[in-house]
Structures are given as C-alpha cells and as structure tokens.
C-alpha cells in the first residue's frame, strides 16, 4: 500500500482533526458531575420533604390510636404492614431459597436451567400490580372477600425471585474447595449443603431476605385488590387487612386536610422503616478486608 499516507492515519485515531477536543472532554466531564449532583439533589429534596412534612404533623397518637379514633392514628396499619410482611416471608422465603439452592448447587447447563433462570428473571420483572390481580383471582374470588392471606400471597410472589437470585449468588460465592473438602470427607451432597455451604453463606442469604422484606414493605399496588385495608385493629389474616401503604394511598386521595397530614406522617414512618432496614443491612455486610 501507499507507505506515505498510512502513518498519520494509523498512529493517531484520537488526536488531530478534532479541534477543541480537550474542551469537549472537559465539558462532558462537567456534565457528568452535574448529573450526579442533580441525582443527589433529587434524593435530598425528596427525603427532606418527607422528613419535614412528616415530622411537622407527627403526634404520639399516630402510634397509639386507630384511624377512626378522635386524635387519629395509624397503629393498626403499622402493625398490619409488619405482620403482612411476616406472613409473606413465611410463604416466600423457603420457596425463594429452594430455587436459589437448585440453581446454584444442582443445575447443570441444560435447557431446563436456562428456562428456570429466565422464569425467575421474568417473575422479578412482572409489574407488581399484576401479582395483585393474580392473588385476587386465586384467593379473593374463592373466599368471596379480601383478606390478609391474599395480600401476603401477592407480596410473596414479589419476594420469591429476589430471594432466589440472592441465594444463588451467595451460594456461588462459597469457595469451591469447601465442597471438595466436604466430599473428600465422605459427606453426601445434601450434608455438604446443609452443614458446609449454607452455614458459610448464611449472612449473605440473610441480606438478600432482608432486602426483599424492605422491598415488599413499601409495596402498595399488589395490596389494592387483596389486603384492601382495615380501619379496625383486626389482625386475622382471613379478614381485610390494615396496611400502612394502603392507608397512605387512601388518605392522599382525600380532600380532608388532617388526613393528608396523616399521609405525610405515614410516609415518614414507612420510609424510615424501609431505609433503616436497608442501610442496616448494607452496613452489616460490608466487604471487610
């Protein structure tokens, strides 16, 4: 080829022919810093509004009274959300863990494994309101009325894929020689799993479970048709169930000013619950060096 033309073309694909490229570079870097600042500003603004408005209207009655009592409160809703999430965990945690154990320890490279992984990913991506519709059809229609169980089922559907993926990843992190050593001692696969792998991964799995709990504690859409909400201190899962998120939604739609104030306090309680949980998890399992 032409020896004289190539050196400038080949040697420098970046420099030359682009006047001002250093200024472009600085400009883009500045834009990246600005977008980061914007994202953090949004977080700050949202959290401070929730904090300020929530604290403004907070009263002791909020934690001790029921929605229809004279200084109104949300005691039953807070307790209801906690119990609802516990019921959902009872249904969702074992199932999610079993899926994760299968995918990490038993799955080969077969078509079935790919299908299972895809299904779990798709379940994780399903709009949560649809899981509410499913739980409505499966539980509310046969029972003829809304109930805590149907809400718990909808939340469990959300938990399963999160916990499955977390468990799978955590089991994968257990160093392979652990399994080899256990097999070398003559342990069976089930013994290895229960006595070596799961104990080693338990902190990580617990993290995944707690993140799933934090996630479903803030869910509203799947509970609209299932738990329905309840103004009484009724904690029987066969009855319509009180829930903090549902109460916030209901109050935010009303024109009554004191109810809107209650909604802000409710959101403060909810966000505190979720964020403290999430941050605690994050700091409890930081990568120690």
């Amino acid at each position: 080829m032409n020896q004289t033309a190539t050196p400038t073309d080949l040697s420098n694909p970046f420099a030359g022919r682009r006047p001002g490229r250093r200024w472009i570079s600085r400009g883009v870097a500045a834009l990246c810093i600005i977008s980061t600042g914007l994202a953090l500003a949004v977080l700050f603004v949202v959290l401070s509004y929730i904090g300020i408005r929530g604290f403004e209207y907070i009263t002791p009655a909020f934690f001790t009274n029921l929605p229809l009592q004279s200084p109104e409160g949300m005691r039953n809703c807070i307790i209801g959300t906690v119990i609802l999430v516990m019921l959902a965990s009872v249904l969702g945690v074992p199932l999610g863990m079993l899926c994760g154990i299968y995918l990490a320890e038993y799955a080969g490279k077969s078509l079935f494994t790919h299908a299972a992984r895809l299904v779990i990913d798709l379940l994780a991506g399903t709009p949560t309101i649809l899981l509410g519709v499913i739980a409505w059809q499966l539980v509310v229609v046969p029972m003829h009325h809304q109930s805590g169980w149907s809400g718990a089922l909808a939340l469990a559907f959300i938990m399963v894929p999160i916990i499955a993926r977390a468990t799978e990843e955590m089991l994968r992190l257990v160093p392979h020689p652990h399994r080899e050593a256990s097999a070398g001692l003559g342990a069976s696969q089930a013994q290895t799993l229960m006595l070596v792998i799961l104990p080693a991964a338990k902190a990580g799995i617990a993290t995944g479970i707690m993140l799933a709990i934090a996630r479903v504690a803030g869910e509203t859409a799947p509970l609209l048709f299932t738990a329905l909400g309840n103004d009484q201190a009724v904690y029987d899962p066969n009855q319509p169930y009180p829930s903090l998120t549902l109460k916030i939604w209901q109050y935010s739609q009303s024109a009554e000013l004191s109810w809107r104030h209650q909604a802000w306090t409710g959101v403060l309680a909810l966000v505190t619950l979720v964020l403290v949980f999430t941050a605690a998890v994050r700091f409890a399992v930081r990568d120690r060096k």
């Binding site: 977008s35 994202a39 299972a116 899981l131």
Partner: protein, 381 residues
C-alpha cells in the same frame, strides 16, 4: 484444591488435608459478599463442577434425594407461578378477547357503563408509552452521566458513597414518590417549570390546526404545550418515572463500565486520547450492556403504578401535548379493577392486565438477552 476433572475418592487423607487447610483459611477470611443491591440486581461467575460426590447408601441417599426433590420442587413451583399468571390473565380476559378482540387496540373510548360498554386500551397504552419514553429521554443521559462519574471520574473515596446514595433512590417506596409528586412536584411544575416551558413552546406551531377530525381524539395539538400548565400531566408522569428508573440504569451501567479492560483504556490514553474519547470507547465497548440496562429501566417504568397515577391526571385522553392529562395501563387497573361490576367490564380489565404483562415481558426478555451477552464474559464489539 481440585484439579479440574479429577474425582475425589472419599476419605483420601491428602485431599482432606489440603482442602481442609484451604477451608480453614477461607473461613478465617470470612465470605466475600457479592453485589445484591436495592435495585435487585446481582452478578457473579458460574461455578465449575470439578468433582463428584461419592455414592451414598441408606439414610444419606434418601436425604440426598429429599433435598434434591425439594429444591427441584421449588423451581417447578416458581415456574408454575409464571404459568399461572398467564393462565389467570387469559382465562379472565377470555370474554373480552372474544367480544372485543383486536378492536381493543384501535379504540380510544373507555366507557364501562352497562349497555354502552366501549373498551379500548389505546389511551392507556399511549399513557404508559409516552411516560416511559419521557422517563428514558430524561433518565438515560442522566444515568449515564452518574455511572460515568462513579466509574471514571470520581475519586475512589467518593465513588462508594455516591453509588450508595443513588441506589437509595431505588429503596424509597413508590407511594412515597407518589405523595411527593402529588403534593410537591405537581404544584411546583404548575407554578414554575411549566409556565416557563409554555412561554417558549406555545409559539412553535407543530401541526396545522383544524385539518384533523376533532372530537375526543386530539392527538395532534396545535403545539406541544396545548392546554397550558396543569401540573398533573404526561410531563409529570415522565419526571417521576425518571427518578425511579435512574438508580436501575445507573447501577447496571456502572457495573458494565467496570468491565472495560484496562489495556484498552491505557492504550487509548497512550495514543493521546482525551478523557472523553476514552470514555466514548468504553461506552461503545459496553453498549450491549448499556442497552440492557436501559431496557430494564424501561420495564420498571412500564410496570410502575402508584407514583404515576398520583401525578398523571387520570383521564383517558391521547394527546401529543406534554401538558395533557392521561392514564397508564397499570393506573387504570389500580383505579377501576375493584369497580368492575359486570362481566365484560371485569374481562376488559383482565385484557388490560394481559396487554401490560405482554409488554413488560417483551421488554424484560430483550433486556435479559442483551445482558446475558455480556455476562458471558465476552467483549461486545
């Protein structure tokens, strides 16, 4: 440590010793923790099976089988859940599928009064589509900016806290965003941002007025801001979704950008590339993963319910105006599912749910396909 392909015979002392030592050392270090963050994303490499467990007898054989059966049963049950979703949605919408059929996608009107019974998903699909589009238009550049800042710009001590704070955006429940959007963002939009946009954009005539059949369908407004500032409109829906897709797209893009090989970066700098030229190289190298991240953000936006219905205005209009109110598919489900008191109405609600499920499924599948290409560890030029 296992040589790949060797079978370990039970009770071999040498293997016991070496592997046992390794066991102790690893235990002392504690387990490493992979990333599971608030966006629900995880990632690690698959484990190679290098040995086989010894054949077992008696109760241990049965224990093995029982545990395997339980795990397999769990997976099958989970697969059954997804199947159940489809069965329930198709079963529920069967009546509407037969009576309305394809007209569902060509009708804008939504009139559930018994006797009238007009059902069309078009307005709701448009509402979901336009808010999702707006969220991506605002959210993708913003998320890429944050991800580039974290991976390629920020000092090391700052990267972790910024990552954590941006991920925190994903931990805030959607009802909290909804309440904030409804009582803080919407009034602010109505009083400050939208009048400013209106002052500029109302002079730009987009479509010739009066040439299109008027009536309930007003898809072609005179300009992009027809109707004037209201605060509860497509723009508000798009903005609140922007906040919600930001942490997802940022987290995945950040992880993908970290896979950009150091040799390429050093090579580019060595050739005299500027920081931005090198970053563009990284963005191009990781583009499949970034598209996957965008698709996952899009799936989140399509499925989001509470935050959107609180700011979108809740009307069934279709308008290219940013300031027009609308409704999303998930929003109409949340608002009207419980009010569906006659069979065809309820069936139409299930039909909306089915359309929502299929759109979210398609988005998710394409996202996973794009992301699985990079998690295979191959470059993506």
């Amino acid at each position: 440590m296992g040589v790949p392909g060797t079978r370990i015979r039970p009770g071999t002392p040498f293997v016991y010793f070496t592997a046992g030592a390794s066991l102790a050392v690893r235990f002392r270090k504690g387990i490493r923790v992979a990333r599971i963050d608030m966006t629900g994303m995880t990632g690690s490499e698959p484990v190679e099976q290098t040995f086989a467990y010894a054949p077992q007898n008696g109760w241990r054989k049965w224990l093995d089988r029982a545990v395997y059966g339980l795990a397999l049963g769990g997976v099958l049950l989970t697969m059954a859940i997804l199947l159940t979703i489809f069965v329930v949605l198709i079963h529920g919408s069967w009546l509407a599928l037969g009576r309305i059929g394809w007209h569902f996608f060509t009708t804008q009107a939504w009139n559930p009064v018994p006797g009238r019974d007009q059902y069309g998903v078009l307005a709701f699909m448009y509402g979901t589509g336009i808010t999702t589009l707006l969220a991506l238009v605002f959210g993708v550049p913003l998320s890429l900016g944050v991800a580039i800042f974290i991976t390629r710009l920020s000092p090391r001590w700052l990267a972790g806290p910024v990552s954590f704070l941006v991920e925190l955006l994903a931990a805030i429940p959607s009802i909290a965003y909804g309440l904030w959007g409804c009582f803080v963002m919407s009034p602010w939009l109505q009083n400050y941002l939208e009048p400013a946009i209106y002052a500029v954009l109302r002079h730009i005539k987009l479509f010739p007025v009066g040439k299109y059949p008027s009536g309930r369908i007003e898809f072609f407004p005179a300009n992009l801001v027809r109707g004037g500032p209201s605060g509860s409109d497509f723009l508000a829906g798009g903005l609140i979704l922007t906040i919600m897709v930001l942490p997802i797209i940022t987290a995945i893009t950040r992880d993908v950008l970290r896979q950009f090989p150091a040799e390429l970066e050093q090579g580019a700098y060595g050739l005299g590339a500027t920081w931005w030229q090198t970053t563009r190289l990284a963005l191009g190298y990781c583009r499949a993963g970034i598209f996957g991240a965008v698709m996952l953000g899009m799936a989140r936006a399509i499925g989001e319910t509470m935050a959107v219905i609180m700011v979108i205005g809740n009307t069934d209009s279709i308008s290219a105006s940013l300031f027009a109110g609308g409704q999303s598919m998930s929003g109409v489900l949340a608002n009207e599912f419980m009010e569906a008191d006659h069979p065809i109405y309820l069936s139409a609600m299930f039909y909306v749910a089915l359309v929502l499920m299929v759109s979210s499924l398609l988005t998710n599948v394409s996202a996973r396909l794009l992301l699985s290409r990079i998690s295979g560890g191959k470059g993506t030029h």
